[in-house]
Point group: C2
Chain length 203, copies 2
DNA sequence: GTTGATCTGGAGCGACCGCTACAGAATCCA
DNA sequence: TGGATTCTGTAGCGGTCGCTCCAGATCAAC
């Protein structure tokens, strides 16, 4: 064919994603992105096109590597209630490790209102996360780990809202007790924690 | 003294705030702000100093005119549980009226991670909102409208998180059923609705 | 009316923005 | 080896950025 690329596209995409994640869309210049990727500006445009196109690639990469991977891992390895609990706990831990927050939440606030295409992606992926919570609540009600009286739809909506709220607090008010308290109280709507084999203690 | 200003500072501040609110910090230029305020760029600098100083003024103005005013109004005119419910319902309604979201949440995500002073303000004001929720939960437990078994601190943390989450969804996934479901489920942690004078419809 | 202080807006500073033209370097197929 | 084709970096395009200078306008105090 012709001269091959001297860089790995996935690695470069990851580096660019980190920059967008840390600094936001508007505050990250294409020169910054090129430097982070180890490429000249012209190579960035040659490989990924305009800045906006690169951002959508990064957003996709983020969602695949983080949100979707987490959902798939938890949903296949844990029973439903534990999957929900683990998801929130992981969000809390990640939020305390760094103040990056969530690229999806960042994009929702900064970019989505001014870009219909990205707004569609954002809404779609949020619906995806909402769906994970809804499936898990329903499955939890089926296996008895989640109270049968709660509304799975509203509960999934609250959990989605809680995740997004935690991501905002991660950047603006990052205190462990706050994030843990909010997560714990959100989980309380699922009803009494599963008491393994011992008989339940419902009121 | 000397020549008086040809504009009202409060009005100008309000106009600038609207621009920051809609477009974010980085994407709003001082020329944009001047046009919105009806001022030349030089007058903006003469009256408000640099862009960052103007933003902090706008953030203060927003918080006084919106968050603090709402807290004060609800806390003085409604019993505690109803104040909490009204706060969330107002957030949902405002979020559905426009996709602006919340300037505090926007600032928390976009500006706070890169500006320690603004981060302090953000954390302070979030703590203020958290305090309103905590006071209201405690007062509600005292007058019997809030379940006595819930932890006021964790509940206030969840409500703060919910408000921030709702503001993210307002910009990225603005559907009435979603926002209302999340708010309703968040309020469910307060326990059974109060049996006030109006006939309740508790399940 | 004069003075003195403040406000106003046009012009413009250097720097950076997103983006691209272009020439050379590197690889493939023949 | 010799195109053909793709990648890469330099240089630079027009435009906008945050910010400032400065001359003139406009007021209060005298």
């Amino acid at each position: 064919m012709a001269r091959p690329r001297a860089f790995d596209e996935g690695t470069a995409l990851e580096a660019a994603m980190q920059r967008f994640w840390a600094d936001g869309y508007a505050a990250t210049s294409v020169r910054d992105l090129g430097a982070a990727m180890g490429l000249s500006q012209a190579s960035v445009y040659n490989a990924f096109g305009a800045k906006r196109a690169l951002f959508t690639r990064c957003l996709d990469h983020y969602l695949d590597a983080n949100m979707r991977a987490r959902i798939a891992r938890l949903e296949t390895t844990l029973p439903p209630r534990q999957a929900i609990e683990a998801f929130l706990h992981e969000i809390v831990e990640r939020s305390l490790e760094s103040r990056l927050g969530c690229l999806l939440a960042n994009a929702a606030l900064e970019v989505a209102p001014h870009d219909a295409d990205i707004a569609d992606v954002v809404a779609e992926r949020m619906a995806e996360l909402e769906g994970f919570f809804r499936r898990s609540v329903v499955a939890g009600q089926r296996d008895g780990s989640v109270s049968g009286t709660v509304d799975p739809i509203a509960t999934a909506q609250l959990l989605l809202t809680t995740v997004m709220g935690l991501r905002v607090l991660a950047r603006g008010y990052p205190q462990r007790s706050l994030l843990e308290g909010a997560a714990r109280q959100a989980l309380s709507v699922l009803g009494a924690p599963p008491t393994t084999t011992t008989p339940g203690n419902a009121p």
